[in-house]
Symmetry: C2
Subunit: 448 residues, 2 copies
């Protein structure tokens, strides 16, 4: 079979569990991403039941439409795992026992203390002429077949459906084997991860900067962050490359560099804050009302957080705000528990009680009950205290209870990030017509 | 067009974001579930780019293979939303302005204070002869077309891809319109949601009870719970129905009714606990070390939790365990912060300080660092205190940091559930050979 460069691919996901609502097909989304990085377009993701005619019918549809067909699932040891048989028959390549594979399967079973039964031999059957793709972490080996379909050279690769095995075998097995068939002109992607501006404002700011023709720009609102993604070919001359670098710098500035918490990196906001805290050698404590512990949980997601996180007080009831945090009863009576005054007192109180360098507090109305005309659902305040500064910030984010709680935690983390990086704090009081909304889509910071 | 019963369906999900790794197609999994309940089989889920020939090509493939084709996505107002045009052309039904739809679109824009621009008119275009499926929560209306394809009657329904809109329009719009075409012999499903036993043990216990031939049984490990699902036809005679009821009662007993926190209900564990707490009129407080607030956050996910949740202390550092919770320094020195003794003292301390009826505490080693041979990563203790009882339970769950934290929160919620229902508490000390593992796959409860 003549081989040719792979420009596009499709995936066939096999398994009744995909068609009965048991699980969503996450392999397809992951594959799309992995292919794009290599300059290959995913044309279709198709799922079908693990039945003979359906597998063959669906594989044929995809073979007609793509250079590479990746088949995931149906490689287990039981009788309802039919991928091997269906593909072997479709391509007229009878199944053969692969003795090297059989030996390593038996060894794997022995090392795990499991009994190797007759049925397990099925996992060593491979279509004649196929290339084995070893499974370094499980029993289901994959294989790759080169075929000619309707006069065109095609590659078909069968991989197990278990996401962990699928990914490792694709990266370490399949892509290595077909390296010479991957496009030379691959794509590079860069991205900004932002917090604090709505997607529409980010979109306007980026669109105002003319993009070089080689660059495609995409936005993704991945609550509560907004991502901006650039994609461009890698084989560009140095002038175009310089232009793209200039463009990237310009949109960074247009967005506002301080809104970007992560650039070309998968590090999420709480990890950014974690790293800044470790570097600063500062300790922190929290006082949480409406989030009831969520901020503490977010600050301790990574190992090593005991270096900076001392603890906190989940002051859900007013009595605890008063008794444990020292919020004066007069503050609660005059301004209410959801107020800038109370938030500031909560932060000061927990800082004093726990002896941390920094303290953060959250108090708000997450809803759906509890709103008033003056303080509707979605109103929250974040208090902040250090040895030299105290303050509180007001926010308004009228969404579901779950979203308000998550958003307020992100706002608190972002205040911390900005404080540690010596950036201005930006407060969002959406829909508040008393505030200047002109610059950011949101008003400027205001310490209360 | 003659109509006939719908026995099977397919879904075509349109959008480049599905093929670039941006998002996984969750509509397909949800649809499969909704269809199965109505006795309809989902044959294929297929995705394609929002381009004219691809939409038509993919729709044709599905039309050949199913009675009902559901097309999701591509109904927005911008020029790259091509579903309307592609289907209109494929079925030779020219697009027409639907004036009723146009009026309600304009009204919607006005009520939201948004400007209606020319492009928005596109969302009122409907193929001639199609039936409108209104969108009660957004601007993208759907539509349904009856066609004859290769001599067979087919239904094609176009719905927006936004999951919230897709679901509501399917349930309230499409399924209502085609009620007379849905199969009479539908399926009924019942399910148990369990916590506290591994999937393998659940599987063994259920498999030991012979199932009536009409019932199919499926398991789903949906960390940290395990679900058991039964499915059987609705049109059964009374004898078979009684048999199935008897079988259901038997497997409930075989699993152990106390492990089942929810039966045939979507109510998750924390909502079960929420409802029990409200009913009991008891108040609760928490002391959290390794979870740092996650238990408090879980207990307050629903509105109304201020009726029972007073607050808590996130005692991450030992100093705070001592100073704020009153854990004696001697306990910390002798047994360590991760010990039954410390867990019990934490619960007693927070109960006393906050004045609640019940108190729970969590202390453990979530890892990946911090394990020792005596207390490896995954070891945690849950303390419990009321006016009349104090105790602590030991668990061992050697998994990732995130999983240990989540699992320990579930264990604490389950202790609370069992306490409020007066059920025995079950403690899991996996891999601990000193414990009796014979009965549950896990040892019996042991108050330390």
């Amino acid at each position: 079979v003549t081989q040719k460069l792979i420009l596009n691919a499709t995936i066939l996901s096999i398994g009744s569990e995909l068609l009965s609502g048991e699980i969503a097909d996450t392999n397809a989304a992951w594959l799309a991403d992995a292919l794009l990085e290599r300059g290959i377009l995913l044309r279709h993701a198709l799922s079908c039941d693990d039945q003979f005619p359906q597998i063959q019918d669906a594989a044929t549809f995809l073979l007609e439409r793509s250079d590479l067909v990746i088949v995931s699932g149906g490689l287990g040891p039981t009788d309802d795992d039919l991928t091997r048989e269906a593909l072997a028959q479709l391509f007229n390549m009878p199944l053969e026992m692969h003795h090297g594979l059989l030996d390593s399967l038996k060894q794997l079973f022995q090392s795990r203390g499991r009994t190797f039964v007759k049925n397990n031999e099925r996992q060593a059957l491979i279509p004649r002429g196929a290339e084995v793709i070893p499974n370094p972490i499980g029993t289901a080996a994959g294989f790759m077949i080169s075929v000619e379909y309707a006069g065109k050279p095609r590659l078909v690769a069968a991989l197990p459906g278990v996401p962990k095995e699928f990914k490792i075998m694709l990266n370490l097995g399949l892509f290595k084997s077909i390296e010479h068939l991957l496009p030379e002109s691959t794509y590079k992607r860069s991205f900004f991860r932002t917090f604090g501006l709505p997607e529409s404002v980010i979109g306007q700011r980026v669109a105002a900067v003319p993009a070089p023709p080689e660059v495609s720009v995409a936005y993704r609102a991945h609550f509560p962050e907004v991502q901006v993604k650039l994609r461009y070919p890698t084989n560009l001359n140095s002038e175009v490359t310089r232009n793209i670098e200039k463009y990237t710098a310009k949109i960074r500035e247009a967005i506002g560099a301080d809104y970007i918490f992560s650039e070309n990196s998968k590090v999420p906001l709480n990890e950014v804050v974690h790293n800044l805290l470790v570097k600063s050698s500062k300790t922190i404590s929290v006082a949480e009302s409406c989030t009831a512990g969520g901020l503490g949980a977010a600050l301790t997601e990574l190992s090593g957080s005991s270096n900076f996180f001392l603890g906190g007080i989940q002051s859900y009831s007013n009595q605890i705000k008063n008794k444990l945090l020292g919020v004066p009863q007069k503050t609660l009576d005059t301004y209410g528990a959801v107020s800038a005054e109370c938030a500031e007192q909560m932060a000061r109180g927990v800082r004093k009680k726990l002896g941390s360098d920094i303290a953060l507090s959250i108090t708000g109305i997450a809803g759906p009950e509890g709103g008033t005309p003056e303080k509707p659902v979605g109103t929250f305040y974040i208090g902040f205290a250090t040895a030299t500064e105290n303050g509180a910030y007001r926010y308004f984010y009228p969404q579901s209870r779950d979203m308000v709680r998550t958003y307020s935690i992100w706002c608190a983390l972002d205040i911390l990030r900005r404080y540690l990086l010596e950036l201005p704090v930006v407060v969002k009081v959406r829909y508040d017509t008393n505030q200047d909304d002109s610059q950011n889509g949101y008003p400027k910071a205001k310490s209360v």
